[in-house]
């Protein structure tokens, strides 16, 4: 049981480049989330999805777009990367009956 899988795990971008982070979960969870983690800041919610075809903004959505075309996948896109987007990105999904979030191992993104 793989749980939540994120790809890629590491990426270096130049300012202005674009990229997509892929999150896949095999637990049939409806709700999925993208967080970013910065030193001394904890985790902050970027976007989330409550089901296939739906997305919503979290606390820090600017500069990011998301899509949930399939229930098991949640994509996070950066159209024009900025150094301020250097961070570790975590995807998560939730087991509704217990409220437990399951996290991927993270994707470390550096924007030069």
């Amino acid at each position: 049981n793989a749980g939540v899988t994120q790809t890629p795990k590491f990426r270096v971008l130049k300012t202005g480049q674009s990229m997509t982070l892929l999150c896949a979960q095999d637990m049939n969870h409806e709700y999925m989330y993208w967080y970013r983690q910065d030193p001394g800041m904890g985790l902050r919610l970027i976007h989330y999805s409550v089901g296939e075809g739906t997305t919503a903004k979290g606390e820090v959505p600017d500069g990011y777009n998301v899509s949930r075309l399939k229930k098991q996948n949640f994509l996070l896109g950066l159209e024009s990367a900025a150094p301020s987007q250097t961070s570790v990105y975590f995807c998560a999904s939730i087991r509704v009956n217990t409220g437990e979030l399951f996290f991927g191992e993270g994707s470390r993104l550096t924007v030069l």
């Binding site: 709700y31 001394g40 985790l43 919610l45």
Partner: protein
Amino acid sequence: AQSVTQLDSQVPVFEEAPVELRCNYSSSVSVYLFWYVQYPNQGLQLLLKYLSGSTLVKGINGFEAEFNKSQTSFHLRKPSVHISDTAEYFCAVSDSGSTLGRLYFGRGTQLTVWP
């Protein structure tokens, strides 16, 4: 929106000593409370949670936490720590009326256990 304060950014302790990691949140409305642990270069995993019922919650690895509604606190405790407990610990809060899974995280407490 909730605000979560973890009062200590770093907590160094010796092995087999007791430890308390402190967490306070801003709102007194009905909340769900969580502690997550993050080992180096890994994602977060659930340590314990409070959804309702008994205010003393027991989790994995011998950790427990107590929900105190009047003080809006959810402090994490362990009576005797091991070197393997060295990790970063995050307190998280969700309003019971908000979108499920929309958690507000504290900034984290790095627990370092010395031999």
